[in-house]
Symmetry: C5
Subunit: 359 residues, 5 copies
Amino acid sequence: MKFIKKTSHKSGLPPGTLVHVGTKKTEKVKITVIDYDEGNFEEKELKNIKECFPYKDKSTVTWINLDGVHQVDIIEKVGKHFNLHPLVLEDIVNTGQRPKIEDFDDYLFVVLKMLYRNENEQETQAEQVSLIVGPHYVITFQEKVGDVFNFVRERIRNGKGRIRKMGPDYLAYALIDSIVDNYFTILEKLGEEIEEMEKELVGDPKPQILQSVNRLKAELLFLRKIIWPLREVISGLQRGESSLIKETTGIYLRDVYDHTIQIIDTIETFRDLASGMFDTYLSSVSNKMNEVMKVLTIIATIFIPLTFVAGIYGMNFNPDASLFNMPELNWKYGYVMSIGVMAFVALVMVFYFKRKKWL
Amino acid sequence: MKFIKKTSHKSGLPPGTLVHVGTKKTEKVKITVIDYDEGNFEEKELKNIKECFPYKDKSTVTWINLDGVHQVDIIEKVGKHFNLHPLVLEDIVNTGQRPKIEDFDDYLFVVLKMLYRNENEQETQAEQVSLIVGPHYVITFQEKVGDVFNFVRERIRNGKGRIRKMGPDYLAYALIDSIVDNYFTILEKLGEEIEEMEKELVGDPKPQILQSVNRLKAELLFLRKIIWPLREVISGLQRGESSLIKETTGIYLRDVYDHTIQIIDTIETFRDLASGMFDTYLSSVSNKMNEVMKVLTIIATIFIPLTFVAGIYGMNFNPDASLFNMPELNWKYGYVMSIGVMAFVALVMVFYFKRKKWL
Amino acid sequence: MKFIKKTSHKSGLPPGTLVHVGTKKTEKVKITVIDYDEGNFEEKELKNIKECFPYKDKSTVTWINLDGVHQVDIIEKVGKHFNLHPLVLEDIVNTGQRPKIEDFDDYLFVVLKMLYRNENEQETQAEQVSLIVGPHYVITFQEKVGDVFNFVRERIRNGKGRIRKMGPDYLAYALIDSIVDNYFTILEKLGEEIEEMEKELVGDPKPQILQSVNRLKAELLFLRKIIWPLREVISGLQRGESSLIKETTGIYLRDVYDHTIQIIDTIETFRDLASGMFDTYLSSVSNKMNEVMKVLTIIATIFIPLTFVAGIYGMNFNPDASLFNMPELNWKYGYVMSIGVMAFVALVMVFYFKRKKWL
Amino acid sequence: MKFIKKTSHKSGLPPGTLVHVGTKKTEKVKITVIDYDEGNFEEKELKNIKECFPYKDKSTVTWINLDGVHQVDIIEKVGKHFNLHPLVLEDIVNTGQRPKIEDFDDYLFVVLKMLYRNENEQETQAEQVSLIVGPHYVITFQEKVGDVFNFVRERIRNGKGRIRKMGPDYLAYALIDSIVDNYFTILEKLGEEIEEMEKELVGDPKPQILQSVNRLKAELLFLRKIIWPLREVISGLQRGESSLIKETTGIYLRDVYDHTIQIIDTIETFRDLASGMFDTYLSSVSNKMNEVMKVLTIIATIFIPLTFVAGIYGMNFNPDASLFNMPELNWKYGYVMSIGVMAFVALVMVFYFKRKKWL
Amino acid sequence: MKFIKKTSHKSGLPPGTLVHVGTKKTEKVKITVIDYDEGNFEEKELKNIKECFPYKDKSTVTWINLDGVHQVDIIEKVGKHFNLHPLVLEDIVNTGQRPKIEDFDDYLFVVLKMLYRNENEQETQAEQVSLIVGPHYVITFQEKVGDVFNFVRERIRNGKGRIRKMGPDYLAYALIDSIVDNYFTILEKLGEEIEEMEKELVGDPKPQILQSVNRLKAELLFLRKIIWPLREVISGLQRGESSLIKETTGIYLRDVYDHTIQIIDTIETFRDLASGMFDTYLSSVSNKMNEVMKVLTIIATIFIPLTFVAGIYGMNFNPDASLFNMPELNWKYGYVMSIGVMAFVALVMVFYFKRKKWL
């Protein structure tokens, strides 16, 4: 059940208590820091979370990335040093959040979902990514190692594009853009699946296809739940109410917003297609049943009267006892005539079915 | 019918008349008081409602809890002392309210529903909880003893978290948070049921499963009716229009608001899944019927013509009367030939069914 | 067709022309006046409408009630004396109005629907009630004698509650409250019907139940059409834009507003339940058909092959003509063997059906 | 296809080019003028459009009516003299407009649809009516002679009602009111059809009824498309933003607005009823099929085993060849016994069907 | 899959990187310039993009049209010279955009979809058209040669209409109007298809029609996705927030807006009709099955009992062994009587079916 996270072991604790909710997806928390401005670049993996504290007030842009949120003490230390609200920390470690944005004046807190597609099980999986956007830094919290940010890292390292000339708000935009771009890839794969399903439905639909359609529907429901709130998140960022987001970055966020709308559009279209497939399947089952019934009806309707005629002349009334008892049996052309009657009945039936367009 | 409370015995009374609407769920009203500030803590059960009156103007935070709302005289005395509007008292004793919030300048009136899950009957039940949030006190009215507030009590007793340092608005938040957290537990259980149902549907669906699906749908309808208005309630609290809610508490309420949205999301998803299950069941019934029809058609279509052939040679036309009358009966290989014809017809049929993919 | 009133005989008349649209439900218009303030109370039935004119400017609260709107001359006289707009009078006599509120500065015009439940025909019927709320008076127009206002009259007579101390706005509230309270009674009865239907559906659903479900759906559609606009009406009253509604009455109207929302909620829930019942019925029909088909298939599939075997040995090939012709007929255990073959075939079939879980 | 007008021969022309789109419904454009104020009244048919030009600035109210919009040169002349925007003229001659209102400061442009019901083909047809409301005049453009305005003309002629005392805004109101009143007549007729259909459905539904239901649905879709935008049109008129609409007329327009809402309500209700009828029909088909299947199953299930027993004793095993071969044939009560066995089997079957409630 | 464009090869690139997304529909980019004012007109095809640069600041209206967006270097040069934002360029070459409008103070960026109908494959195809509307120029980017703008070109060449007297905003309007007008043509064709399908459905529906209905539904989904956002685009243009759009042009845009609403209306109507056709088809399949079942039941139910009677008298009980053994066989009228019994049974059946209205 990926629609709800088990949180029962958590209820009753005071708000702000850090309890990791979710599957522990990695062993040890991996901490990396990328620090840059137009001229300088530094990248390193930290052994201890404290090493990243000095970057807080450095005027360069610092990106602190934590892979793994199950070690709550580390999260707590980060929270303390960067003055994060306890509820923010709670949300970071509770991986059952909806995407959202919260503005705490001196930093922005953004929750997003990064999607992976498990090719074997044909299932989409989500990983929660939390961003803290401060005046000089961006902190990202992921559930495990591995993400869709490599292109961003590459661009920072090589100084490609304008990222090195921009502030942490642009970095945040680049990260969000990576996540949203990745949704397109997921949707493309779903689109291919839908195409294949439609081909199968037109050809020879098996009952199993219904399970695939249902799985697809559940998948789309899952995506929808993740991506709908994204719209509000990005429009919240873009509206420029926070002084942390510069106006020049706003135009870029408007671009991401357009992408989100496109994705939502596509999901709704896919949902329409999926429920169309269900209808098609149902009607194809009806058609098949109809065909089966026709074959049965044609065979039965032709042969039942014939068998009856044969049954008549199989009766044992004694022709010797009376002249009225089955005199046909002794006629010269009795048999030929009976066969003729049967053939006639059969022909009438066939003609009737032809007219009904059953044959 | 848990969708509507019997109120007919009430209509016609002047507004503000206190008549208990609902099931009497407890014998005697139980009154408890918890009074605390950062340094002090006092908890006691009261024999007489009047003992709680002095707490009204005490500067410490006082939580007065009444278990049972069927003794209207007690409610009336509370109302008089705490200056509650007659309509507020009427709403407290009428347990058929929707969740709502009303702002009476010197106090807030909040109605919520606490959910219980009766494991035996697999049914969710609701209990109405009314909160009066005043400048120094919170009064809660419940229908019966037993609630989801024990964790809050514990935190007050132990001084865990920040609750002892905060005012009655934070206490109100903590109580509402407990109620909303409990909804997650209910939804988790429903989620497990849905998972089991889906497994059953894929395996061997019985007609009874439809009843379970319908029960589930009614359950979700019931939850929806309770939880949708909650959204407005909490956003009403959070918007900070009342001077009784401090700004620091607003952030916590925003957290509860997020939870409510998550719950509504999940309910809508569950509703989608439930109606998907209904469709799946219907199509599985269609499939089964199709299969049954195929077996019938195959057997009937193979044997009906064969039986006809046998019937032909069971006719009693007299071979002695004419050479045209069933000469086959006297042929040397007549019987063998007739069996051969039958076998051939049967083979043609089987081949036809193979091609149709019915076999 | 209770969804639309015949108005065709009216079209083409200039606006403001009084033509009674609706069924004439009473013979003569009955006029009663109740006049009161905190100390005084007067109640009388009037012979002539003119007797009520002096109450217009009396400072006491006057409630003029007219049962019957088909005598347009009386309505016209009232309109003239109380300065009502011609369109208001037109709306009063045309009983096909939606609930609405119109603010004419010196009076408010409110149209409502009072519901009756005709127990025999299991049908809900509506009567239009129009209210004119002026500075010192309330005028109500009903279609016929008999209403849900007796409790209000009783309270005025006995001075129970606060009604005698309040103005005409509170009287209007009390009347509207009575009408809305009555809706709960109607909904309770519908709720009971729904419960009974659901029991019947689970037990032994007959095709007739579909008609009941359809009737219920039409009923809910009818209620919905009447009650949805009510929401706006009452929120319009409550919003306090008119100086005729005092602020203290506003709180009471908020209460009625809450009731209206509860009623709308319940109607929507009932509609959901009703369409669920339809689905359940359909699927139960499918299930039954499936069961019928199974019985047919089992019987036919077992006996058709057996009958074929019997048919074989009923053929009249001449054993004397050739050794190949049905030698089994002369075998010692031929008959026993043939019976054995049949029994074996039957057993195989039964086993097959067991495995298919059809038996 | 009345849902879309052929406009293809028009695309590519510059905006404001007058091309008549629609069916030419009348031969020659008929022009009539009614000019009036409280004391004077003049009505005449014009030969040449130019004769109406002097009325433009006359202080009396002038109603110029043109029946026929296919002669674009006439429309053009009117447009030139009355200073109408080219796009307004284009909309007048293109009869595929949605109802709309446009405010050009010195005149209002209103497009409406007048409905006719072709009783023979049971189809509703729409005619476009365009109104120009100026300071002293109203110009109406209709597609053909014949309209619903005769009552208005009569009232102007006779000076009945207040129309002669009011300005062109009231005349426009009266015309719009006539059109909207006419919708009620159309809906009443549809309502009667629906009632008849429902009776037929409950009685003996034939497949043809589905076509009627579909036709009804298309009809309602068509009405909906025409009447929904009307709401905005009239609320736009009523809102009093244009100085051409006096406040006193506003109250009358509010009345028309109420009617529009009533009509929309009724259309939605009818749509609900129509889709309910479809469901009822489907389930009645299912029920019938079920009944057919039951009859087949009962007959087949009773007789197939009996026929098998008869088949057994029709076998020709030679009793002379062995004592084991069908000794029953020679028993004294063999025949009676076999008949008894058959009767017993039949009774068991009947009993079984009784228990299943199939009989 | 035309619902989503492959963009996977693009993800990871920095924003503003120009990568052509879409099918390369033309070989070489074709650049044409039309420059005009009231008195002058110049039209030429450019070899090099640089030739169009001088037009930027010329006070005449210049329309630069590029057919083909796959040569990103050309787009880049245009972007540089006309100061377009990198994201605008990115959107121009990525043909998977939704229609949208963006206001960059000194120019407007509009994305639209031009529709083509491939008559052979009965499929609608979309081509992305991007407009840059500047103070003296309009730049249009198309995917390939061939468009719906020829009428506009003609009007500019001939000075027909008011286009030569107006600014670039009017040119932009004329282009958008051409695109929207073209939608009507597409919808007319779809309307004709729908009419034909409906005729086919009423006549002799084949299973293949379902595929046509599904194709139609997908088509409408596709159109809807393209045209819904158009509404916002044009209302955005019309609202007059940009100084680049003059007020006089606003009226024309309001006209286009009306057209867009009409188109959306028609699409929704078509969608309703399409899902109605699906229902009609399903119920026609049910009806057919019902008819098939009736024929089977009638034939089987009449002949099965007859065959049973014939079977009885085909039994070989020995009349010589006992007087009780089938004495009928030796009766004088035994055969006649048996035939009579059969005829009677058949008549009863026929009568029963007549009463059931199956015959």
